[in-house]
């Protein structure tokens, strides 16, 4: 007997036991809502959509810090100056996106719901490793469209509440378009400015730095990325636009107040005015 036989009754997919995953459920009831399940004609479509750029994440003594610039581009054109690319994935983790902006934001929305859905159905959240693996699985579904120029690459970082000690609690995972997942030891960056941001972090990063210091070097690394990569936006005091910075610590995931980030960014600009090469 299938649910569709009785008018009014919810379809059987709603009542089936076994899966706690929202994206698996979507695959059954509305596959067209999954980004990777939309048929595309052959060709490369990289030019049709805005591209989100640089994200950095670093481990601190208290957990992790993630920051992202505010620019999205379409070729030479700056399509957004105030896009936000770093999000809380749930209460203890953060996710940032680079690549096709529209698909990336959709992926984050689906991923946030995936974690919440699991938590509601199971009554307990996924482990941090479980969350990272789930993100990799979702990326694998996008491989087809990624190869057609619509790639999305996320960066995932979080505070592991099950960790044996505080030093091991902050964790960073990077991904590639095929869904490969890589645990990062200290810091990582994704997006077009990532090379420059990573070089900057390489010189500034020290293990066991505090959150406040980590916010400073994260903002500075984005400044360096914007310095050399035209697709990464630098701090913009004329429009009062500064990077989005978030932390995940024992207290949970939260965004650093814009006023605080603005102060940090202004001090970076002031320092670079004195000495342009940092």
């Amino acid at each position: 007997m299938t649910g569709q036989e009785f008018p009014g009754k919810l379809p059987n997919a709603f009542m089936t036991a076994g899966t706690s995953s929202f994206s698996e459920f979507l695959m059954q009831v509305a596959p067209e809502m999954l980004p990777g399940r939309r048929p595309l004609p052959p060709g490369d479509f990289a030019a049709v959509s805005a591209h989100a750029t640089t994200i950095v994440a670093l481990r601190t003594a208290e957990g992790v810090v993630m920051a992202g610039d505010r620019r999205a581009t379409m070729g030479n054109y700056i399509s957004s100056r105030d896009i936000e690319k770093v999000f809380p994935a749930d209460g203890y983790s953060l996710v940032g996106i680079a690549g096709t902006a529209g698909l990336g934001i959709e992926l984050v929305k689906l991923y946030q719901l995936e974690l919440e859905h699991y938590e509601k159905i199971e009554g307990a959240p996924l482990t941090l490793n479980g969350k990272a693996n789930r993100l990799a699985t979702m990326l694998r579904g996008n491989l087809g469209i990624a190869l057609q120029g619509l790639a999305v690459v996320p960066l995932f970082a979080g505070f592991d509440v099950d960790a044996a000690s505080l030093e091991e609690a902050g964790k960073i995972y990077s991904f590639d378009v095929v869904g490969g997942i890589y645990a990062e030891r200290d810091f990582d960056s994704i997006g077009s400015g990532s090379m420059f941001a990573k070089s900057s972090l390489k010189k500034r990063y020290r293990r066991d730095i505090g959150t406040e210091e980590a916010v400073k070097i994260a903002v500075e690394s984005l400044y360096d990325a914007a310095d050399d990569d035209s697709a990464t936006g630098g701090p913009d005091p004329t429009r009062d636009l500064y990077p989005v910075v978030m932390t995940a610590t024992a207290e949970g995931s939260k965004r650093i107040e814009e006023a605080v980030v603005a102060d940090v960014a202004r001090s970076v600009i002031a320092a670079r005015t004195e000495n342009p090469y940092g």
């Binding site: 007997m1 009014g8 009754k9 459920f25 929305k109 859905h117 509601k120």
Partner: protein
């Protein structure tokens, strides 16, 4: 060919309803009360792992009595439906009424089409901007939907519990008072007229907090429950009210 005996539709429905009612009435009770701080859901539940009270969505909770596998099935369906709707439209487009209606249709279809009805009674509770805007829906095994503003009770002794709740309910009461009332109602049944003592081991308590942004559902467990349980003892009027309720039941 096997002989088919004729049974009238009235008889079939009556038998099914009686079957469901009988089994639901064996269950322990659940009380849902709307108060100033939000919607309080209290269940008498001996298990600490198998819940009777759950979160469906940001501002919506779920409570059930009856057969666990059946209401668990309905709960999962509700979470999926709410999440699907919130994902397709917006989080604010998910409301208690539409979930309750879908449940009603599903329960109704199962009742009339399948050999065995679901032996459950469920509540969909939505917390609003003010206590008067809270939505409490009670759904029975045959798909009937009841809009019961303020308070509701489910389980074997629901009618008796409802009398206690009707007597003491106040929309403007703080959470502690609402909890005392819920406890009074739950302990009024099953003690042969004298109120039973309910300890925290047999209570499952959750609240949809009105003031909390986003996901309003919060379980009250451990020390938080201890604190809440300590409050009614400090109130002298809690005891006589429970006695009164017991007396009215006997008469």
């Amino acid at each position: 060919m096997a002989m088919q005996f004729y049974t009238s539709p009235e008889q079939i429905m009556r038998d099914r309803a009686e079957f469901a009612r009988k089994n639901i009435s064996r269950g322990r009770n659940v009380v849902v009360v709307s108060c100033a701080d939000g919607v309080l859901l209290v269940a008498e539940n001996v298990s600490s792992a198998l819940h009777k009270v759950y979160e469906l969505y940001d501002r919506i909770g779920f409570a059930a009595v009856g057969k666990y596998n059946e209401f668990e099935n309905l709960r999962t369906a509700g979470v999926r439906m709410a999440d699907l709707r919130g994902y397709s439209y917006d989080r604010r487009d998910v409301n208690a009424a539409s979930l309750a209606k879908a449940y009603a249709q599903t329960l109704g279809a199962i009742f009339s089409e399948q050999t065995k009805p679901f032996e459950v009674e469920i509540c969909v509770a939505g917390v609003g901007a003010g206590p008067q805007e809270d939505e409490l829906y009670r759904l029975t095994f045959d798909g009937s939907i009841n809009d019961e503003p303020g308070y509701l009770a489910m389980g074997g002794d629901a009618d008796q519990l409802k009398e206690v709740l009707a007597d003491g309910h106040d929309f403007e009461a703080p959470l502690a008072d609402a909890f005392a009332l819920a406890l009074r109602a739950l302990s009024s049944s099953g003690g042969n007229g004298t109120p039973r003592e309910l300890t925290k081991e047999v209570l499952e308590v959750a609240v949809l907090e009105r003031a909390r942004p986003g996901r309003a559902f919060r379980r009250i467990e451990g020390l938080a429950l201890d604190a809440l349980l300590a409050t009614p003892a400090a109130e002298p009027e809690a005891e006589p009210a429970a006695d009164e309720a017991a007396e009215t039941d006997e008469s």
